[in-house]
Symmetry: C2
Subunit: 411 residues, 2 copies
Amino acid sequence: MKRNVLIIGAGGVAQVVAHKCAQANDRLGELHIASRRVEKAEAIIAGVIDKGAMKVPGVFRAHAVDAMDTGAVAHLIRQTGCQIVINVGSAFVNMTVLEACIETGAAYLDTAIHEDPAKVCETPPWYGNYEWRRRDRCKAKGVTAILGIGFDPGVVNAWARVAEGMLDRIDSIDIVDINAGSHGRYFATNFDPEINFREFTGTVYSWQNGGWQSNSMFEVGQTWTLPVVGDQKAYLTGHDEVHSLSARYPQADVRFWMGFGDHYINVFTVLKNLGLLSEKPVMTAEGQEVVPLKVVKAVLPDPASLAPTYTGKTCIADVVRGVKDGKPVELTIYNVADHAEAYAETGAQGISYTAGVPPVVAALLIAEGVWDVGTMVNVEELDPRPFITLLNGMGLPSRIHDAAGDRPLAF
Amino acid sequence: MKRNVLIIGAGGVAQVVAHKCAQANDRLGELHIASRRVEKAEAIIAGVIDKGAMKVPGVFRAHAVDAMDTGAVAHLIRQTGCQIVINVGSAFVNMTVLEACIETGAAYLDTAIHEDPAKVCETPPWYGNYEWRRRDRCKAKGVTAILGIGFDPGVVNAWARVAEGMLDRIDSIDIVDINAGSHGRYFATNFDPEINFREFTGTVYSWQNGGWQSNSMFEVGQTWTLPVVGDQKAYLTGHDEVHSLSARYPQADVRFWMGFGDHYINVFTVLKNLGLLSEKPVMTAEGQEVVPLKVVKAVLPDPASLAPTYTGKTCIADVVRGVKDGKPVELTIYNVADHAEAYAETGAQGISYTAGVPPVVAALLIAEGVWDVGTMVNVEELDPRPFITLLNGMGLPSRIHDAAGDRPLAF
């Protein structure tokens, strides 16, 4: 059944979501996109039209909305008749948008965990602080809410579920996220610097030996050898999916590793040690109150501006160790994406592309009824096969590498 | 003849000037100190009284003044009956204070070249942009104005004049400024970060082969072996004294070298490349207009806060090469100062101490009539012997090192 889709947000990921929804609008209904500043949403629609991305003629309309206002979002959902909301706005608006979905009955999708602007890193499991507290209400109202359905979290959770089906026991899941691309600038973040840096200033939580382990950022590093991108140094990093996968696989070690070059680490370390990544205001000699992190954001390149000249590839992988028929097994399930190809198709770079395609696939599965589960779930709770099969055909093919060799992951 | 002294400014250097004037108040007259915020000036006087620094009972009074306002400064000079003004305020106020001295006939002393807040690095010779344009007026009115009478510029200019007297010809003057002390913080500047960074963001001008040579900061480095502090890496840096010494010694190469550790260079390079040292405002996502450099200043330690725990020594030297009786000669004239000793005596660290003692010595020489030349001069134009003799007894002894060995510089 066709369903109208409302996209919340107008950044790089929203741009990819818009293009992919347009390419599949024969299977979705009317498309809507809402942002605090309507002109950003309008620009995205103009890009979609320019690319000729709409598969069949149809509605694609821009709206202004304050996504921190549940009533305003609920009003927009009703007004547009949307039954699916893809929330790819700031991580600060997740709960207000989810409440609007619970109120209206629309399905809810997001790609990152909710954050409170005033709190940099909260007690694990992170999903327990905001999302899971609304699980019973989603279930009672039959509202489908799929949490963290980007790439990581998202696809990597589905891969863990695939590995679960291939093994008798999972002993460890190491998610490794490598961006081996180059933007050619002295320094830039691949998405909003404010959100990017917040990810690395708090405690690094990992799930090991049946409990939460705390480290600091860049404390634990390891070189991973991955397909296409080769040897890459990555560091133990706090990340959303660790907080749901550890609930399903409490016997396994669950770790997230993000690749960083020495240059990134150096710049980050200087800024952090000087206090320039602080979200707390300081006072200048002239008496002006300023949040240092917001000034750093202002001097850094706009992440969207990196896309036209971004080259190289990303590789995101689940390295899963476990046991099958009494023997140790290691599987690597992975995707390689290309920045220039992502730009050619959607006008956005590869990081936005990998995050933006999966929620559109999920929306299609909800529209088809396959994933319309009428409750709140994390991705590993859903059947991964239809999801990965659709993704394979929509620009993000999964591959698997194990003792039997390297091959597409297909069902 | 005793003369009343007005100190302009209330930073670390002003604090040293205040202590040293107090210690010599039997040879000076009434003492006055003026700052934009009178409480800063009052705090300095309180420190002077606490230390028992006043040699004989006398007046020491704090005033509020806007030093950018020539009329206000002239009024204060007249009101206090001051005949000597030691200007150790911000480099932005030099010309307004000098104008007040020309208007009132008071002698003028400063320790750094005038700067326009909007211009980071101007055409050489720098003194030609502001100071020397007022030379004729000083002469016509018989106003003594001694420019750049801190340590460097200042003492190092006097040393060049000493070398002039010892050689038949000077071929090169390399001024080397090493701070081998440690403040124990992750990163800090030794004086106002805004002024400190401005020194290193512009073109590095040196005088070589009879003309101006342009380099960028940290482009040309060299290891110098100096007394006490040993081997130290220093970098060709733009500095005031190069712009006057090259006028007196056009046949010689005149270069200034400042010591930097790799950590300082790394932090500076990151901040500069990100645009965080810019004096031009940027706009945050929230629409706030902010000058990045002022935010960097706000997060860095207050230079004054470094003094209590600062340890180690500074070494500033003139390495002069030339010819005497047909033979090549190399002289090193230098001073070694100690951060902890400076703090014990004046409550300020060694960098402020080396800059603050020389103008007080010059004030004494003006009061005695020795340096009361009734015109505008740079330090190398004055007889260096009485100056160095007094400095030797006031905490900053000069030494000389040449083929004949290492010994005090005395006349």
